[in-house]
Subunit: 226 residues, 2 copies
DNA sequence: TCATCTTTTTACCGTTTGGTCAACTAAACG
DNA sequence: CGTTTAGTTGACCAAACGGTAAAAAGATGA
């Protein structure tokens, strides 16, 4: 009766055997992508608990049981999104070049991070939601992926700082402030929309943020009489 | 049968007649405070949809129907918290003194805002959660209370800027960056705990943040050769 | 003491939620 | 073609949810 592996299970668990990668079909790739796209919409807007499978299903144009055919459950969809997100999210930090011009490297990092928040506000909000709630599903990933990168970037900035290439700043709090200021424009968009005038959110606010942050971090990082 | 106002209704709707303020009893004050305290815990940790009346009830040490005796519903509890929060949240900005020393005023504002985030992280997260989800319940309050204050503060900073008392910065984005950097330590505490080492979150990180932000905004705001 | 008003609880209701099941349809392949 | 497999769906379920009804229990004051 219960023949194991009697049929291919697209909703493969995370601990699937590495050897048995049955190469997903075109339909599977398309529908998984649809589901993740819809889930990003719903999760980023309502948070994990606030999102329902029915909402995701309707937004994806699929039935709820069909969604559970591709993913083992609500949590697996969420975790999948977070894993996908983490990679692209860390890329700007990875591109910090130890051999580049320190000030340019950091200002470029600020610019990339801001562009990323503006281009992918849903991803930013999804991440913010998860962290706000204590990172219950992404904590291991923070420890394994984010922390090593954060440590090495901090060490690099500290070296630049001690060498006098940039001002004497606390590297870790500098990174925090860059994350905070850039992601703020995505995460608090509802507030900014009210304060800047709703008609304006995409236009002047965008350029204004870039110009302000560039100038701010130029002042913060330019070495000078202390 | 349906005698209106046949019994005092502690769960008074918001649009209650102003003349009929029956002066709440000691029990009412104590239990309402318990409920709001418990609700702040639960809402700030799980978000609006993620929080349940049963959780709030258990945390408050009351039964669920008893909670609904004091508040008309889940949403009313949430809105009450947001209203209470908004007042104290805006106070540091209100204390900006047009007649003070501009640089000192702004650095003091940064310090106060950071202290507030560190002293009331649950309030900060409650607010962040609400904004993140599009401010569905607090939008009117943002328009009526936050925006006027934001506009006048921006105007004041602009005047200081044009007068040369501080550097030439965009006042509105300056305020955004102050909000972002200070609230970040409360809202992203889970992330910061991982990156700074969990044992450290309350100690060095606290002082480090204050020192870093003071130095950063000193550099940003000190007028000098552009 | 009794009568009245406030507070609390027990039992319940309708809806929503994540998830399952068995049957159905559509491809793939010989 | 037929058979096997992949994909899809309507019907359903148990649990959790916000909220209600009504009556019990406490407090209050004459």
């Amino acid at each position: 009766m219960s023949d194991p592996a009697k049929s291919r299970d697209p909703a493969q668990r995370s601990a699937a055997k590495p050897a048995s990668a049955p190469q997903p079909s075109r339909i599977q790739m398309r529908n998984r992508a649809r589901i993740l796209e819809a889930a990003l919409d719903v999760f980023s807007q309502h948070g994990y608990r606030g999102a329902t499978l029915d909402q995701i299903a309707e937004s994806a144009g699929l039935s709820k049981p069909n969604i559970l055919y591709y993913f083992a459950g609500k949590e697996e969809i969420h975790v999948t999104l977070l894993h996908q997100l983490m990679d692209s999210w860390l890329e700007p930090l990875r591109q910090l070049d130890p051999d580049g011009v320190p000030l340019d490297e950091l200002l470029t990092y600020v610019r990339r991070k801001l562009e990323m928040s503006q281009a992918f506000p849903r991803e930013s909000r999804l991440f913010a939601n998860e962290i706000l709630q204590g990172a219950p599903r992404i904590a291991p990933l923070l420890e394994e992926e984010l922390k090593p990168l954060f440590d090495s970037a901090s060490a690099l900035i500290d070296r630049w700082s001690r060498a006098g290439a940039i001002a004497d700043v606390d590297a870790r709090h500098l990174i925090f402030s860059i994350w905070a200021t850039t992601q703020h424009y995505a995460d608090f968009e509802a507030q900014i929309g009210v304060l800047m005038g709703p008609a304006d959110t995409g236009g002047e606010a965008r350029r204004g943020a870039g110009a302000y942050l560039a100038e701010m971090y130029r002042k913060v990082l330019t070495p000078g009489r202390g």
